[in-house]
Structures are given as structure tokens and as C-alpha cells.
Point group: D2
Chain length 363, copies 4
């Protein structure tokens, strides 16, 4: 088992980068939900490559075909299957890789697991391309959540060490929409320009850079999630680490809080308009694995794209000797900005799963 | 469902801090494994409180009683149940808390979920005390892993921002043993002293501090784990976030790598003694969710203990008005050092689960 | 993994027949549910042995101790752990069995799985005694269900081929109570006497007999369950086959319907008091894996107790040669009547799990 | 969640009878397994309709397209997705049904669950047509199992009460092949003719009949499966009840054993060629939920097709009043014979899942 997650809402992702098609089965969607396919396509376009010099020139229209689960524009209760054809494969670029694992890629581990049978053209099943079907599922989840007052948005918290402003204490749906409309999703335009320069600078030296994505969700009720291993953090992290290139996940103040004192980190409660609120949200909207009703915030570390044009040392697996490898083909000098909608998608899917599960504590 | 994890090896943790007993059912252990109960007790003693001024004075012997699964000192295949009696409860210390959620604690979210029915004396099921049964399971898993050449160790990477040395590229079983024998598990003794001073300084001002635990596992085969959502990172993070007070998890270079270039982050392969190795291990032994066979490394952010003696603002839930709260009772000025064996325990349990599952790719 | 089931409500059963104790962890119970411990004990007493000549004379009080999850007589949201001490073990009766698997028992398969490490005294973890903790969980589930108008009851549909009357089309809660109060739970007293005679006749010849349990549940809403592999039948059967000695499960008309025509088997709908109803219920309240709102009915085949006093042929596993075995000790000449509350317990647990999960189709 | 099962090998089935396509994602197949597509197609043809008067005249070529997971004729480790286009839909035949649930069908329960949003044309996701993708998965599993000496075969044990001979004690792979090659899979040709006459007789009166499928698996090692709820019977039954129209599952002697004495039902062990064997196999190769190494045998009750041409009473859901319904369109007068390969497919999938999981008891 591998490419699945969820409890009530189940995702099963399939496909290889250079196979016939990629796709996803989404099982457990509520019935009768209208899906705005144009809005979904706009969401998918946010991660689509080939739009500018900041990402791979691989051209993919990435238009999903729905084989099941969607009738007359609405979910029908049955599992939804969406398929995206692979169009612009350049598999020959990968010919020379065979037997020489690219540093930082899953080539070596796929070989260790599946031997020579792994289809690693373009990264195979491990490719970032597999995040397209994730975005189909997540884009649908976002629409269903928004109808219930739950909004999910994200921005680039940093690229190559250059920091964007953090989300405000109570981010609004409008702010999320503004970010979604931007070609480069940051809050601070100046920081965004410096980030883009850093990406292009890395590209010029046949190198790449990483970044951090900050994601928030608003409108969640208090009391969602379960103690310990079924806590919100466990379930979100379990899914977020499934996104290729993610190497860290933190909630609220996260690693920063580890250097703080309790008196700083604790979020004091107060009453406003008859509701319990907080003046700080270092907990990221989660205490004991359960939602507080405050905005949920998380950050995801995306490593620099392992595919770089520079010559690198590696080994020839058949001869077990050292060799040099230069990766040709088309690569993203940074995937963090394309990961922004993916983090939203995965977060939205997990949150919808949790909402569908309900708060059994008070059944 | 809540307090469970695992796939072949399943853990189910139960108990409340001030209830009769706490414990764990471990289902799926291989049969015929000899368990050294003295070594297990030494492991449990590493997280036991009341040993010095760095932790709560609550006295608990924390000696597990095995109700099932262990016969003649060996696992018998049937589920193992271990129970630890609660002895030194001071429930009256918690009398005044009722209806006034402590900032940073699960009091508010437990109330949101379970209403007034939640047993939150001493933190109830959310208490750090529930990590004792985790350590029983993990201590057993560690013994079984060690017999197969897999070793798990951890140290305090930082407390209150004071950094220990990181693990070396290839940590040894001896290094893990040395750390396990230390009352304060750090690699750099000087850093350890400064950390302890920081803990005591926080204690004196009725405050607390957080920290980061670094954990490593050696001897794992390459090819363990599955792509995407069943990757090693997903499964470890899902379990590690179940430990109370954990707010961040990263693997290898983690968040730091997000500021690096690919040429720095990529670990080049080379051949040594006929085996593929790396000169750096920024991937933390994991590529594409699958083990590389290099040491697995991860870091866990532990927030400062939310229980502090200073007066804090909170709300009275019955009257929905603001109020002040001073938490009496016995508290840990820091839980990060006590979390060290817990992180080892959870890591070992997940790794044993993965090893028991085997590498189905080459079945 | 082995002795668990459930999705929102999770059960983890532990213990061996001659170990220290047996028990169960029930995770996911709604909070604030009052548990009537006297009513629970009456339910447990229905499966308790040693009451008359129809079952083993092993004396067990079978009084559960609650280590967690129950505070002030109410569930508190945290996992509930119930432990039952083993008292009246006669392990020496099992001394001679070692290495000679009893026909019809799990001795041989436990040895194949766990080698000599298996604790098979009294059947070990495979013993019918493990149904006592199941009844603790199920008895609690029954109380919670009854509070919501869902009632579960069962009777002996047959013993040794002697048939009881089937349940009426719409069994009432009163009928279930009447059955629960009977020492031998049948609808037709005359059939019940003949069954008891058959059991005693088998006992006199050092033999045993099997039987069938019919179980029904009323008050379920329509629309519960999911298509295909998460259908009600799949989930109930998956749990019911976990009861020792169960070799068949059928719903509604079951195997009989396989000999019928569609015109007979189809249940025609009609309207009564503004609700859709049926005049026959051959579907057993389930169509397409989803509840119709009619009574759910199922039957469970219980094989004759494998422990019989007659000499039987078996093999000596160490010498790999044939030998004869006479099983001494205390045995049930029939376990079908003691299985009646167990089938109720498992059915109630699965139904509560499904109700807690809710009808996500119309979220 | 709904249309999934498996633990290491996961199936996710999607599609509606009259949607664009149906299909399956199979996640967790071992890599490097050669799939004989012609043999697979022959297997699929066994359940394909439209071949003679015994099944619906709906014409479907049922040729799967593999979107992923299969490269160069071999599994590559990544999830396999197979899609079958729907071709010969006659949706207009279903126009008049809307709002009038067909007795014995899932129309009413789908409406109860998903309201008017359910796509119930041709039975929608509940249609027997969804067994085609199950057979793709199962046909692949059968090939992988056969390579390891595990063979799965089935025949019609009965139709309309007419009995075929049971499987012999040790059925051979050749016997399974003979059955697979027969247009009507029975052991006793005379019984087969009478069954076919019964089907055609039912068809002439616009009625239908049910049947029982007996399935066996040989070559399994002893020690497979886990105690209680993860036993072989639990896992197989959980999957088999997911097949549309299945209302009963029994193992070995099953319900018959409930009328027997223990001395008859117990299978005595003996030694032959250095291996433990049995002279009878009433246990169906399973004791305590774990394989004995003897042939695994099970029987599945298939109800008579609910779609019959006779006028039936039902209700108009919008007006909540009684009405009459005559189901037009193309129907199977019996689905039991078409269910034979489906039962093999599901059994093979579950057994491969169990074999992939391995025998963790002796890890």
C-alpha cells in the first residue's frame, strides 16, 4: 500500500510521470455537491508548469477527465475518478540516467525497493507531476469546505532564505483569494521580487533553491480531531509528508516555540462577542491534537529541486563504481511556489475528511 | 478512534493522568522475542519524573505489569498488555481549574469535544504521563530491533535555543548507549550545563522552556517504506505528532534545506566496501519516502511546558467572562529532556512496524 | 495486527485463557454516556460459564475492572480499558497436549505461526474466554444504542439441527428482553428443551454439538453503510467471524435465498404511517450494503466445540508421527447458547461504530 | 469511504454502470510481475455478459486499458490503474424507474443515503458491472499467486436448489483449469444441464434464480492470518460480502457443521510424506483464523437477480404512495454463474494481500 490517505474521504493517487495518464480516485465525497469546473481549472492552473521561467518548460494542459462520481456537475455519492493524460513527455532525456541514481531523487530507493522494474522516467510515480491529481481532489475539497464557511489559503513564507510576511492572526477569505490570483503568491511584493530573482539566479548557475509554504485554514469548529495519534497534527503531517520534496512540517509557532518560554508561547484566552478567542495563536489553532476554533496554521519545508544541471557524483549500480552524472531535460529551478496550491489541496482534503468524520465526542 | 497507530504492529494507549492506571496494548509483536525486563525498566527510568529539579516532583515508580502477551519472559504472539498503576496523584491541585481552561493545554479543546464529561485532572488522557506506556512499547521494540542490528538513539538538540552538537554522519550503537546512560542526554557537556541552567532559571521565575530532540536510527535496510502517503516520513510524523507537546517534525536537513541550493542539499553517492554510501546525509536517510540505508535522522520540536506557575489570563467557560488563573501543583519546567526516550520509543515502534511489514516490492 | 476491529469505535482485545487477565480497550466511545454497571453485569452473566451442566464447570466471576475511560459512572471520552482477572485456571490439564495439536482447535495453526512460543494453555488467545471482554464492549454499546432507540437481540436458531422459531418480521425490544432473561434463549420452549437434551446427550458420550444464532437489530435509520466493501454485511461479517468457532454468516434469507426465485426473494415496498416498509424482509434490512430501515437480521453458524472427551487421532509435532490424544479438562458440550450474547455484543459494537461514523452521504 | 479493501494490497473500485467508465486502482502489487494480458482477458471473458441466453444481452467487450503500474508487460511497483469504458448503455430503459425503487435493489438505500443525487442508471455504482474491474485485479492476483504455487478455482455449487458435486478433498490446478474452460462451470455435467434449464425456465416467466458458488485455494502455507478479527475468515468475508448480491459466506462445512457433533466435525491429523495432513477438511483449511496448509474452501450465497420482468409493488418516493413497477431493460435471469470468476477474483486478491503481509509471527 502506498499512495493513499484519509479515513472517511479516501484518496488513491496513481500514475507515472511518463506513463499514459495520472489520476486520483476520491472515495467518500458527500453527494449533491456542485463542482465549479472552471474554478477547479483555475486552481489547477496555479500549479501547472510552463507558464514562465520560474518553472519547467514542460507543457501540460492538465485538464482532468471525470470517469465517475460526477453527474450533471454534481457529486453523486459514488467514488470520483479523475484522469489527466500525460502529453509532453521527453522520456529520451532520461535514457542515460538508467542505473545512475540522481542525487536527491528517489531513483536509488526505487531501485532498492523495486529493482530494475521501477518506471523512473521523469521520476515515475515519485514525480512532482503526481501533485496534479492531488490538486484535483483538493480543489474539489476546497469548494465543498468554502460552502460550509471553511477557507484554506497559502503563500510562500520563504524562498532561498528570503522571508515573506507571515499570515495575520485572522486571515480572511479575501486574502486567500488575492493570493490565489497572484502569479507569485506572497504577501510582501518586495520579498516576492527578491525570491524570484533568487530562483532565476540559481537557474543561471544550473542550480535550484528551496522554500517554505505557510498554509492557514479558517472557519473550523472547535473540537475537531482526536487525542494522540489521530490528532489534527498527526493526520495533516501524515498527508503533507506525502507531497514530494517535503522535509519538514510544523504547526503554529513550531520549531520557533522550542526556543521560547511557556509564558510567551501560551495563548491566553479572552471573550469577544460571546466567543472564546486568543490574542496570539502560537498553537496554530490546535491544542492536544484538537482544534481550538482559531485559525489553523502550518508551515511546510520544501527542499531545493534535486534535478540540477550541474555535473554530480553518483554511482553506476550495475558496476558498483563511482561515476559522474549530468542531468539534462527540463527542470524546475524551484518547486516551492508550485507547491503552494498543493499544500492547500492536501490540507483541504484532510480537513474535509475530519469534518465528514464529525465530532463523535458529542454524538 | 484516537490513541492508536501502526499497521502490522498496532499500539492502543489508554489511561488518564489521575485515573486508576495507564497502559498500552501492543498487537502484532513477533513471537519468541525475549524481553529483558531490567533493561526495559532502565529505559523507562529515563523518562520517569521526580529524579531531580529539572522535572516534576511527582513520584511514580512506573513499573509495568504485563497482563498478557509475555510468557516466560518471551513474547508469545498474542497481544501484549502492559499496565502501570497511577500512584502519586494530587487531584485536588486541579480542583480550581474546572471551567477555567489553562492556556496552552488541551483543557479547552477537550471541553469543546467532550463537554464537562472530560476527565482533565492532571491533563487526563492528554497528559505527558501517557508517554510512559509508549515507552513500554518502544522499549520492547528497541530490544527487538537491536537484535536485528537496528539501533535507535536520541539526544537534546537544543533547549531554550541553546544548541547541542548534531549527531555525527554515522552514529554508533555505543554513542546511543552513552547518551542513554547520561542523566541529561547531550553530546556537548558544556551545552548541556547551559541548558540545565536555562531550565532552572525558567523554573525560578515560575516559567518553562522548550527544546528540540534529535533522533537517529542506524542499520535499516534500503527500500523500506512506500511512495507518497505511506512514506517513512508520513508514518513517523503521524506517530511523532501524537506525543504531547510536539509542534514540529523534520527529517535530515529539514527546514534548513529550504534555504539551501540543490547543489548543497543533494547527497552525492559513492561506493565504499562494495556498498553505496553518501558523504552528506541531508536527506536523513530517506528519498521518496523510502529508506536509503543511510542513518535515518529526524528532529522533533517540543514546546515549552504549558503549565507555568505565573498568573495567566483565561476565561470562565460557564460565565463566558475573562478571569485570571494561577496553576498550582507540580510541573516540569521543561519536558524536552524527558521527551528524548519518548521520541526514541515512538521511532522504534514505527520502524519495527515497517520492518514487520517487509519490503513487498520484491516479494 | 490481529485482535482489533472498528473504524471510529475501535476495539483491541487482549489476553490468554490462562494468563493473568483478559481485557479490552474501547477507543472512540462518545463522552458522557452513563453506563449501568449492574445491567452490564447481567449481560456478562449470560455468557458466563459454570451455571449449569450445559457449559464448562470452570468458575469465573467475570467482573470487569475499569482502568480508564469511565469516571463517575460515565464515559469521559478517553479510551476505556476493562480488565477481567483469570481465576479458575487448571493449566495442568493442558500439560499433556503440548506438541499434540487437538483436532479442530487452533493448536496446530498457532504452532505454525508462532512456533513453540504460543501460549496455548486453555486455548490461549484463541479461547472462547476472550469473548468475555467482547461482551464488556458490546454490553456498553448496547446501552448506548438503546438510548437512541436501537435495540439488539438474539436467540438460538438451532442446536444440533433442532430448530427454534425464527424472529418475527418486526421483533420488539420487549421480545429481546424476554430472551435475555431466559437461561436458555429460544422463542419456542419446546424446541429449547429438545436442544438441551441434545446437548446433554452429546455430553454423555463425551461429544459436543453446534448451533446457529439468529440476531436482529431494530431502530436503525435507512442509509447507514457504504457501497461494496464497506457495506454493513462486510463490516458485520468481518467482526462476527472474529468470534471463535464461527464458520458461517448470512443476512436475511441468506443461503436459503440462493434456492429461491427473485419474485419470492424481492421484498416489495409499501407505505404505512407515512413511512416506507416491507411485507417480507428477506434482505435482512440491507440492500447494496446499506440499511433499509427495516430490522437487520443475521445468522451465525457456531461449530460443535472441538474439545471433546473422546480419544482422537492426531500427530506428535516433534516426532512427526501419528498418535492418539484424549483431551481432559473441563469443556463446553455446546458453545452456541453461550455465543448468543457474544453475537449481540459484536453486532452492537459494529452498529454503534457505523452510527458514530454517521451518514456522510448527506453531510 | 466505501469501495476499497486490502491492507498491503489495496483495491479502490470506481465507476457507475452507465457512466463513462469503470475501473480499479490496485496499490501494492509486487514489482516485476509479468502479466499475461491474453490470459487475463480469458479470465475477464468468463464473467462477461451477452454470450448466451443465460445472461443479460448487454454487449460489453470489457477490455481494460492500463493507465499506470504496468510497463513493458510487467508491474513496476507503482499503483496500477485499469479502466474499462462503458459502451452499450441503454439508460432510457431506466427513465421510468426514477423515484420508484425496484424491490431487492439498492435504489431505495442509495436514495436514503444520497437523496436524488445518486446516479442509479443501470444500478449505478451498485451494479454487478462493477465486478469487471474486480476481475481485472483478481485476474492479476491469480497469475501472481500461481507463480508461487497457490491456485484458486471455483464452481457453481448450486443453482435454484440443484446441487453440483462438492470439490474433492484436494482439488488440483488442472481441475480449476478445466472448470475455467467450461462455459458453465460445474463438476457434474448433468447437474449443470438441470441448472441451465432452471435458469431458462425462470427467464421465460420473467423471473430469476439464485445460486451458491464454492471456491477453493490450494498451495497456501500454514500459519497465514491472525487471531480474531484479522483472521482469514474475517478478511475474506469482509471482501466477499462486497460483491453485489452476496448474502451469505461460509467456510469449510459452515452452516452444516452447526448441526453436527464435534466428533464428526473435528478433522483428525495424520502424517503423510513428512507433512501434517487431514483426512477430512471440515475446517476449510482454517483453524483459529489461521491457515492449516490444507485447501481453503468457502461457499458464497448469491441471491436471485432482483431485476425481474414481472410487475412488482413498490412506492413512489415523491408522493409517498404505493404504485406498481415493471422493470424493462436487459437482465440476467441468474448471476450466480457469472459470479464464479468474481468470487475467485476476490478470494485471490485477499490471499495475495495476506501473502504479501507475510507471517509476522516468525519475523
Amino acid at each position: 500500500m502506498s499512495s493513499e490517505f484519509g479515513k472517511i474521504l479516501r484518496l488513491s493517487v496513481f500514475g507515472q510521470s511518463h506513463g499514459k495518464a495520472i489520476g486520483v480516485v476520491v472515495d467518500g465525497l458527500p453527494a449533491g455537491e456542485e463542482i465549479d469546473l472552471e474554478a477547479l481549472q483555475r486552481f489547477l492552473d496555479r500549479r501547472r508548469p510552463g507558464k514562465n521561467g520560474l518553472s519547467t518548460p514542460r507543457k501540460e494542459t492538465d485538464i482532468p477527465e471525470f470517469l465517475s462520481g460526477l453527474e450533471g456537475g454534481k457529486t453523486c455519492g459514488a467514488p470520483l475518478c479523475a484522469v489527466i493524460q500525460n502529453a509532453d513527455q521527453h522520456s529520451k532525456d532520461y535514457g542515460e540516467l538508467s542505473g545512475k541514481p540522481r542525487p536527491g531523487h528517489a531513483d536509488y530507493t526505487a531501485w532498492a525497493k523495486w529493482g530494475g522494474h521501477a518506471d523512473m522516467r521523469g521520476g515515475g510515480h515519485f514525480s512532482g507531476r503526481l501533485t496534479a491529481p492531488l490538486c484535483v481532489a483538493g480543489g474539489i475539497a476546497k469548494q465543498i469546505l468554502a460552502r460550509r464557511g471553511v477557507f484554506v489559503g497559502a503563500h510562500l513564507a520563504s524562498v532561498a532564505g528570503i522571508l515573506d510576511r507571515p499570515f495575520p492572526l485572522y486571515p480572511t477569505a479575501e486574502l486567500f483569494e488575492d493570493l490565489a490570483a497572484k502569479p507569485f503568491p506572497v504577501l510582501d511584493a518586495g520579498a516576492g521580487e527578491r525570491m524570484q530573482e533568487a530562483i532565476l539566479a540559481a537557474k543561471q548557475t544550473l542550480d535550484s533553491v528551496g522554500g517554505v509554504v505557510e498554509c492557514a485554514a479558517t472557519g473550523l469548529p472547535a473540537g475537531l480531531g482526536d487525542p494522540m495519534f489521530e490528532g489534527i497534527e498527526s493526520r495533516l503531517a501524515g498527508a503533507l509528508f506525502g507531497i514530494p520534496a517535503v522535509k519538514g512540517v510544523e504547526f503554529g509557532a513550531g520549531f520557533a516555540a522550542a526556543a521560547w518560554r511557556g509564558s510567551k508561547n501560551n495563548d491566553e484566552f479572552f471573550v469577544e462577542d460571546g466567543a472564546v478567542r486568543v490574542r496570539t495563536n502560537h498553537a496554530g489553532g490546535i491544542l492536544g491534537g484538537i482544534t481550538t476554533g482559531m485559525p489553523l496554521t502550518l508551515r511546510v519545508a520544501v527542499k531545493p529541486t534535486p534535478s540540477i544541471g550541474q555535473a554530480q557524483r553518483t554511482v553506476c549500480l550495475s558496476r558498483m563504481e563511482e561515476t559522474e552524472l549530468t542531468v539534462h531535460g527540463r527542470h524546475d529551478p524551484c518547486v516551492a511556489h508550485r507547491a503552494v496550491p498543493v499544500v492547500e489541496a492536501v490540507t483541504a482534503t484532510v480537513l474535509l475528511d475530519l469534518l465528514l468524520e464529525g465530532n463523535h465526542g458529542t454524538f
